[in-house]
């Protein structure tokens, strides 16, 4: 359903207000981020990734979501068997129990109370469908293709310009005001233009994560977030570690 439709409609919904568009916000999002011609991945893998990205953006408030068709910079690593998403969660998604102890200790030394302010970290998100069956080998291949921390400028930013769904925080209105961005279609993937980096609330966190990756993260085995989509568009997220990592005592 992706191939013939997009070209005529692509330009149409940009000018009028989106309410009049016959397409849903999600459909417009799909149309705005097409599979690049040189991508090694299948269209359905791409669609799956888009759907997960959409869920991350609008249900969980993630920002700076990028799609990686070939996320490994090192030459030796194989390319992943499917497109991978990276993004920045609104809060820190995972904290190793030892790091938690460390953070709490520092808080006590500084005589601070309350929730510690830890910067969010970029996470790898691997989209999957519930009806797939996985093997340990596929997990291993996926981890081998991923770097420890997703690079800030790797991959291509996704274009969320046309999707104005419910439950979006203030940042969306900002990007919506510039909804006439002509590069909306062209940006799709592989373009370096970051669409979502201009979000207000999380900019302070991004700078810290960009500058120095957390030593707790680099010292630990790799991790990824396995996003599993079901037919009813539910997406569940599970943190998968590439090795023995003791559980959080949450």
């Amino acid at each position: 359903m992706d191939d013939p439709a997009p070209t005529p409609r692509k330009t149409a919904p940009i000018q009028p207000p989106p309410e009049t568009s016959p397409l849903s916000g999600f459909h417009q999002f799909i149309l705005a981020n097409k599979l690049p011609k040189d991508s090694p991945h299948t269209p359905h893998a791409h669609k799956l990734a888009l759907q997960v990205a959409h869920n991350l953006r609008f249900q969980h408030g993630w920002t700076d979501i990028r799609l990686h068709h070939d996320p490994s910079r090192q030459v030796s690593a194989p390319s992943p068997p499917r497109p991978v998403i990276s993004g920045l969660p609104p809060q820190r998604l995972y904290m190793h129990p030892d790091e938690q102890i460390d953070v709490l200790q520092r808080q006590r030394e500084q005589r601070k109370a309350g929730w510690p302010d830890v910067a969010p970290e970029r996470e790898w998100v691997v989209p999957s469908q519930l009806r797939e069956s996985w093997t340990l080998r596929r997990f291993a291949e996926m981890f081998d293709a991923l770097s420890a921390v997703p690079g800030e400028k790797e991959g291509g930013a996704l274009n969320f310009a046309h999707s104005r769904d419910v439950g979006v925080e203030g940042s969306e209105s900002g990007s919506g005001s510039s909804s006439g961005t002509p590069e909306g279609a062209g940006v799709a993937n592989g373009s370096s233009t970051p669409n979502m980096t201009a979000n207000g609330p999380t900019t302070n966190g991004e700078t810290t994560t960009a500058s120095q990756p957390n030593r707790w993260r680099t010292g630990q085995p790799k991790r990824m977030l396995l996003a599993t989509l079901d037919d009813d568009s539910t997406v569940v997220y599970y943190i998968v570690h590439d090795g023995l990592v003791k559980p959080r005592q949450n």
Binding site: L93, S133, Y237, Y238, L244, V245, N250
Partner: protein, 407 residues
Amino acid sequence: MATPELPAVTEPFPIFTLAHRYLLYDIGTISHIRAHHNIPGVLIGLLPQAPQQNVFSGIPLELMPEEARLLCEKGVGYIVDDVRAHKQGFLDRQMGEEERRVLREGLRRQGVVAARQVEEKAEGKKLAAMQRRVESGGSVENWNDLPEDMLRPASRAGRSKKGKKGQNRDSGTATPEAGVNGEAMKPDGEDTMNGHAVKPHASADGDGDEEESLFGSPMNSFPARPLTHRSQDTSTASRRDPEPYGITPATSYPPLTATPPPSRSSAVNPTTPTEEPATDVHQLPDVPPSYPLYRHLHSEGYFLMPGLRFGCQYTAYPGDPLRFHSHFLCNGMGWDDEFDLLDLVTGGRMGTGVKKGYLLGGIERKDEERGGRRGRVRKGGEEVVDVGKGSREKEVVRTFCIEWGGM
């Protein structure tokens, strides 16, 4: 962990297989493998009086096949087929008369020791109670009056022991004969009540912190000269052995002898029929395909317990399960075994719900082996017996931990 009274365990020790289970009967071995080999096992012995009570089970200890296999591979244990050992040891080869006599005598001696211990303990208790009664009452005229401090805490008992001892002896001299006669005649119930086996130190033990028995000996049979008289008697203890307790040995391996494997390579030449079971050593216990994961986690220092209660194969504890909560719910599988994402979600949910991680793992097979994928899986399942002997070096178990994302 091992208490000093336990005899040292000599490795290799026998692991008895019975009805496809691997059992340990010796408490010394059980605590040894727990302390030194990180293997807790599962105690499966129930009390006959309370078979429903399975919280505090006792020996025997059942080992998972993985545990038995691991101990065998480490060379610290060997498998003995219990049924065959008994058939050959007791039926094929009749025990000689002398052998039986020695065994019976050994059991009788154990029974005597046990009976004497019980007797001494009862004696100590009773003496303490009486001591308190005497002290509190002073010179009691009417022994039928219940001393009012019988329910008082015991700490007050030893307060003025020295001063009251003379009174104790005076009032007791009324019936010295009861004790002496009883002890000279026969060790029956009345006799033990009167406390014949009191050793000189028993009274010293008893008056301190022993719990007190409300029903001590009858007052009119108070032993008159416990200290002086007893010391002579105990020197010739054999004369007045108490009735030996019936001892049912927990293991049949004083009469039988389990012999460790002579060596890995050479076949056994059974000189005596009881050594025959040693041939079983060479056959390692069969293990499920998750054994590589078990061995990997065990080598990482984890204690592994059966995981049924959490819906997995193993629960991994970072230390002794008595001291730590478990960290992982583990499932082992082949490198190319397909699993449903729903299983992973279920396991991840379950693990996170109980503050654990869900762990998957298997032997990593590199890309060059990828060709016959299906066949390899099948073969891996069958070859599991010799997993770990030949290709121990190159096989790498890779694990993945899954936790709920919290989103």
